[in-house]
């Protein structure tokens, strides 16, 4: 039957009021081409709607795209919402995050932060690493 090497399932979303979705669409394509199944939620999601989707889709990872400087609030909120729902799913933030904010985000439970310079390979590998670290 099917092998054990199943495609990772990744929920991708923009959280809150942030319309810059060019990047997340590129990431969706990168992850697809890396053999993953991307559940694409698109714009204007809430922590609740992302938790609901992650639960129903049995997601292995959640990718948030942030270009509105809301990451220091929304990132930790997302982690908290997942913990409240007892979902141990790694959250990866991509987008515009100043260097100084990276460590506080990691301390708050975000699995990884990807900046604009990340290569396709790096993006896919970061997701894979975050998933294996969480298991």
């Amino acid at each position: 039957m099917a092998g054990t090497d199943l495609p990772l399932r990744v929920v991708l979303a923009k959280l809150g009021l942030d319309g810059h979705d060019r990047g997340i669409k590129v990431v969706a394509r990168i992850l697809r081409d890396a053999g993953m199944e991307v559940i694409y939620l698109g714009l204007r999601q809430t922590t609740d709607s992302i938790v609901a989707a992650a639960e129903q889709e049995d997601a292995d990872a959640i990718g948030l795209s942030m270009h509105n400087a809301g990451h220091m609030t929304l990132g930790p909120n997302m982690v908290k919402a997942l913990r409240d729902a007892e979902l141990e799913i790694p959250v990866i933030i991509g987008g515009i995050v100043p260097d100084d904010d990276v460590q506080p985000l990691l301390d708050a439970g975000i699995a990884a932060v990807l900046g604009p310079g990340a290569s396709a390979e790096e993006v896919a590998q970061t997701v894979r690493d975050a998933v294996s670290a969480a298991v």
């Binding site: 992850l31 697809r32 053999g35 993953m36 989707a53 639960e55 007892e86």
Partner: protein, 354 residues
């Protein structure tokens, strides 16, 4: 939301019990196991079988971009608002090259299902799951009926399967539903194109979506003409020609007009199935399709094993040498695999061999 603590390595039994108790995370995990196939999927199927059978199974199909997901989202909100517990299985294609997939049905639905998160008590009555085709149509033919049965066993009703109407398996899956909805739109070619697509024969309800756009009435007229022809030629589209004519419902899913009419037509079809005594026949057909798909898959697996066995390799080598024909080799291998013939007196209630 259920608050039962779920351990990471919960057994299938524990997951099933938790899911029955309303734990959505557990149901999400069971669906993953169903998708993975193999023994776990079979175990889940056995658990779900006695609890299932009540749900109205609805297939929604149509060309890419016809508005299936948007319509499905509208229907889900409409149904949940009316106190129903709808579940959706949204099937999207995987890339044949990398096996990856972008499952984008939720984004279309989220445009319309925002209400579900705004009103959590409504959101808790719905469950939407995306499924990638994962390149192997055989797997889809096995995973979809199991996932539907699982939703059914959890008390979800209706269970809506949404697929792009390309590929035989996708069409079969929709055709095996109680009610098959085919979504058409203006600007996609006339009824000749639609006839070619082979989708029309399976429709129990036609929806002309984007009815606010020019040409919508032309689509309706073309469909009407096509249905007239079906009756003329005796080539009735459904249920062996006992007079059911698929209705054509106009709607604009994006605008949010007409979804109530669509659902009314779907329900009317179910009632009509009951009245004509056809519901059981549908069910029978669905089960037959599934049993056949399971046997095909099991046989295909055994054929693969046989090909890789010493005997298989040897026979293939003989063909290469010219000592044996391909027909001869396959006959020998099949005999070794299945025995010369299936005994006619096979007792259906006896335990399977091996």
């Amino acid at each position: 939301m259920a608050t039962t603590k779920l351990s990471r390595n919960a057994s299938i039994d524990e997951l099933y019990t938790a899911a029955r108790g309303g734990n959505r995370r557990a149901l999400g995990r069971l669906l993953t196991l169903v998708e993975r196939g193999g023994r776990d999927a079979e175990t889940i199927g056995e658990l779900a079988n006695p609890d299932a059978g009540a749900a109205h199974i609805v297939g929604i199909t149509g060309a890419p971009g016809a508005g299936k997901s948007t319509l499905t989202g509208r229907l889900v909100v409409h149904l949940a608002g009316a106190g129903r517990r709808p579940a959706v299985l949204a099937v999207d294609p995987s890339s044949p090259l990398t096996g990856g997939a972008i499952l984008g049905d939720r984004i279309r639905m989220s445009d319309t299902t925002e209400d579900l998160t705004v009103a959590p008590e409504v959101g808790d009555r719905t469950f939407i799951r995306s499924m990638a085709t994962r390149g192997h149509s055989g797997g889809l033919a096995l995973a979809v009926p199991l996932a539907v049965r699982l939703f059914d066993a959890m008390g979800y009703d209706p269970v809506i399967i949404e697929t792009v109407g390309v590929g035989q398996v996708e069409v079969d899956v929709v055709a095996a539903a109680d009610t098959a909805v085919v979504v058409m739109t203006p600007g996609m070619g006339d009824a000749v194109q639609a006839n070619k697509a082979g989708l029309l024969e399976v429709a129990d309800v036609f929806v002309v979506n984007k009815a606010d756009r020019p040409g919508a009435n032309d689509v309706r007229r073309d469909l009407d003409l096509m249905l007239d022809l079906s009756h003329l030629t005796g080539q009735d589209t459904t249920d062996g020609g006992d007079g059911y004519r698929p209705p054509i419902v106009m709607c604009s899913a994006l605008e949010g007009t007409g979804e109530a009419d669509v659902w009314a037509a779907v329900e009317a079809h179910l009632i009509s199935l009951d009245e004509r005594g056809q519901r059981l026949r549908r069910r029978h057909h669905r089960i037959r399709t599934e049993v056949r798909a399971r046997m095909s898959q099991a046989l295909a697996n055994r054929i693969d094993e046989a090909m890789d066995s010493d005997v298989g390799r040897e026979l293939v080598a003989h063909v290469t040498d010219g000592a044996l024909s391909p027909t001869g080799a396959s006959a020998k291998l099949l005999d070794a695999l299945l025995g010369p013939q299936l005994e006619p007196g096979l007792d259906p209630r006896s335990e399977p061999r091996s």
